[in-house]
């Protein structure tokens, strides 16, 4: 499959803003914050790719570099085959950026006037412009509200208009930077449903979604990358990453009511054992050899009623990857 986004050792350092004291004492000393470290990424055509990471992980910086708004310090990035530094015009023809900042519209203009303005800036000719504006307004279910001022829109409608703007030029790739961040849970769920149905299912676009909402990523991403402190910690299809983590050995173990051994914390054959809150007989057990743990329990006089493999969620994967990074 053709790669539409590729990065090679992409690195970004931001200069630190100096205080007056530093300016006076060390006027020529340069200090940097590392935002991205040797990021290597390959996103294939038609893929809905989730970029997951905590706040400050480097998600927005990566999207800004890919959108030509920020220059990389080192490394290379290609979008739709074009170099983001050398061929930025072609890159911008290939992308639609959906930002979560509702200030990025003109509040005293109507939705249609806003879209008309941005459509002209995206080189849409007059005949195709009208048709395209109507189309994206229909897709985003804003057609009936097109002649209302942007300032009269709810936060959810504003976010949908941002998506409409991102789709105006019918881009090959769409970047969504935390599209549900400022929404209440109900609006966020509605918007997620809309993104899934309209962008993922119906239009099958290549999309890069930056989010720290794991439910969102699990809901519509086929592939993910987990980024922390500017470095990619895990990357690939969600199921593959879960399988890697699961080598992973997470189980729910339930002791029989008549078990004479209940102090599972004493066992050394498991990597970790945690009691399930408000249940004295059920435990989360992590071990590479569950048979050994069970025989250990039985040898100590205990008896096991049930042992099931725990389904690993993206939440578990994310937590484990981030914690592993911090421990190192």
């Amino acid at each position: 499959m053709k790669a539409v986004i590729e990065t090679f050792n992409l690195t970004k350092h931001y200069p630190k803003i100096k205080g007056y004291k530093d300016l006076a004492l060390h006027p020529f000393r340069k200090q940097y914050t590392v935002a991205l470290k040797n990021v290597n990424l390959r996103i294939e055509e038609g893929c809905f790719f989730g970029l997951l990471g905590p706040n400050g992980a480097g998600k927005t910086t990566l999207i800004k570099i890919l959108s030509t708004l920020v220059l990389p310090t080192e490394g290379k990035a290609f979008v739709n085959g074009y170099d983001v530094v050398q061929q930025h015009r072609h890159v911008r023809q290939s992308i639609g950026l959906v930002v979560n900042d509702e200030r990025s519209f003109y509040w005293r203009l109507t939705a249609r006037q806003n879209l008309d303005f941005f459509a002209t800036l995206n080189n849409l000719s007059s005949p195709e412009k009208e048709g395209r504006i109507d189309e994206v307004l229909h897709i985003t279910e804003l057609y009936k509200d097109a002649n209302r001022r942007f300032s009269d829109f709810s936060t959810g409608m504003k976010q949908r208009l941002a998506i409409a703007r991102g789709l105006l030029s019918d881009p090959a790739i769409i970047f969504l930077d935390e599209p549900t961040r400022s929404l209440d849970p109900l609006s966020a769920r509605h918007l997620r449903k809309f993104i899934k149905e309209e962008i993922v299912c119906k239009h099958n676009r290549t999309a890069l979604l930056a989010t720290h909402n794991l439910y969102e990523a699990e809901d519509f991403c086929t592939h993910i990358a987990i980024i922390n402190n500017g470095a990619i910690k895990a990357c690939g299809p969600i199921d593959d990453i879960k399988a890697q983590i699961k080598s992973g050995r997470s189980y729910i173990l339930r002791l029989s009511p008549d078990s004479r051994f209940t102090e599972l914390g004493l066992l050394t054959s498991a990597d970790s054992i945690l009691p399930v809150p408000e249940d004295t007989r059920t435990f989360y057990v992590e071990s590479a050899n569950i048979a050994l743990v069970i025989s250990d329990i039985i040898n100590r006089g205990g008896s096991v009623e049930e042992c099931t493999l725990k389904t690993i969620s993206l939440d578990d994967v994310f937590t484990r990857v981030i914690e592993d990074t911090q421990e190192r």
Binding site: K12, Y14, P15, A35, T61, K64, S67, T68, L69, V70, L71, T73, R89, R92, Q93, I95, L97, V99, D101, R103, S104, F105, Y106, R108, L109, Q113, D116, F117, F118, T120, L121, N122, N123, S126, R165, S169
Partner: protein
């Protein structure tokens, strides 16, 4: 040809956007017209006060202080717009949050910035026309001998020359966000030495040469000669050539500075910061 049509459509889109935003603030336009009326009236009465005094420095402009100062103020508006509109369009985009959305469109940054200032120039032209109409019909300003074509030529070259400083100022705003030294210095020095309120000949001999380093001096000189004295193209040539020389030197420097500022802001990730 297709590129030119696209460019014109974009210019029109910016003008339309700014016009729609302007008329959404309904009372603002009327207040601005009222402000112009007050401005003209103040200088009319001031010139009446000075009318009886002999002012040899005004002789080459017809000796009428009202005509002299009215043209000075009217065309200083253009200087002000050229100096400030580019940088304020960047600043506005940064603070409003629209700049990022504009920068990811298929329109180049220079086109965005320059197009953002077109409405200000058009609006200033309307203001200047109102200014002159009030001067002519209410206070009897005599423009019967005016060389309008010459005045328009001087105006067009002046706008380009002034815009060089505006682009330079925009470069500072792109990087520093606030505290642009170009606009405040150039604006102040032009008021002091450029002959807006008084002829340059009134300046002390040691200060006078500095006024010749400012494009507004040649712009106002040419404009007054064209409108008040009806000077021919031949007589306007010194002003026109001086302004062209300023443009030829300043414009490449400004464009280079602007491109450098964009690169710096993209490198530091501060393009949309405010």
């Amino acid at each position: 040809m297709r590129m030119l049509i696209l460019l014109l459509k974009k210019l029109f889109a910016f003008v339309k956007r700014d016009f729609l935003l302007e008329i959404s603030y309904r009372i603002s336009f009327l207040l601005q017209v009222f402000g112009i009326f007050i401005n003209v009236s103040v200088f009319f009465f001031l010139s009446k006060l000075l009318g009886s005094a002999q002012m040899p420095q005004l002789a080459e402009y017809g000796g009428n202080y009202f005509a002299f100062v009215l043209i000075g103020i009217a065309f200083n508006y253009y200087l002000s717009v050229a100096l400030n509109s580019l940088s304020s369009s960047i600043r506005e985009g940064q603070t409003m949050g629209t700049l990022e959305a504009l920068l990811v469109t298929q329109t180049e940054i220079p086109t965005i910035i320059i197009s953002s200032s077109v409405y200000s120039f058009l609006f200033t032209t309307v203001r200047v026309i109102i200014f002159i109409i009030i001067g002519v019909f209410v206070y009897g300003l005599d423009l019967s001998r005016a060389n309008y074509v010459g005045a328009v030529v001087i105006l067009c070259i002046s706008i380009v020359a002034f815009s060089s400083f505006g682009i330079l100022s925009a470069s500072f705003v792109m990087v520093l966000k606030r505290g642009d030294p170009v606009a405040s210095f150039f604006s102040g020095i032009s008021w002091l030495l450029g002959g807006v309120y008084y002829p340059v000949s009134i300046l002390p001999s040691w200060l006078k040469p500095f006024s010749y380093l400012l494009p507004i001096t040649y712009s106002l000189e040419g404009m007054r000669l064209a409108l008040i004295k009806g000077a021919s193209f031949y007589n306007l040539l010194p002003s026109i050539f001086s302004l062209l020389l300023f443009t030829a030197i300043l414009m490449p420097v400004s464009i280079y500075s602007f491109q450098y500022a964009i690169r710096l802001a993209k490198r530091d990730g501060s393009l949309t910061h405010y």
